[in-house]
Point group: C2
Chain length 78, copies 2
């Protein structure tokens, strides 16, 4: 029984590890795309911002931009 | 020319977005494995620690454990 339990735990851990490896592979692929973009002259920080903005619902994005503008004005960044 | 550039940027962003989605899918799969483990009685926090420990080189792990023991003693957690 102890052995069966140990096996079950080991198999679960190994599944997590395989998935973590896949995830790392994808993170590497994302980094490659950004490096490719950088190589042709795009600004990677701005691209990351764009990806974040496109992920938001339009209403949420507009609200965030309004609040951002308010804070910028308040701090003389207008 | 501007259009070609815009297309190139859009395609790069879309590649990142597809990869981010894949990555999210894998994160969800990892969460599912942990939930499955929890459902059969395993402690998920400890499992995450095990995954982290198994990722380390044995020498690094031993050194970390030694330093951890030293700090624990110093703080009366022995």
């Amino acid at each position: 029984m102890a052995e069966t339990t140990d096996d079950r735990l080991r198999l679960l851990i190994e599944r997590v590890e395989r998935l973590e490896e896949e995830k790392k592979g994808i993170s590497d692929d994302i980094r490659d795309v950004y490096n490719e973009a950088k190589a042709v002259g795009y600004d990677v920080k701005i691209m990351r911002q764009i990806v974040r903005l496109r992920k938001m619902k339009p209403d949420d994005r507009k609200e965030m931009e309004m609040v951002l503008d308010t804070y910028k004005s308040a701090l003389g960044l207008g």
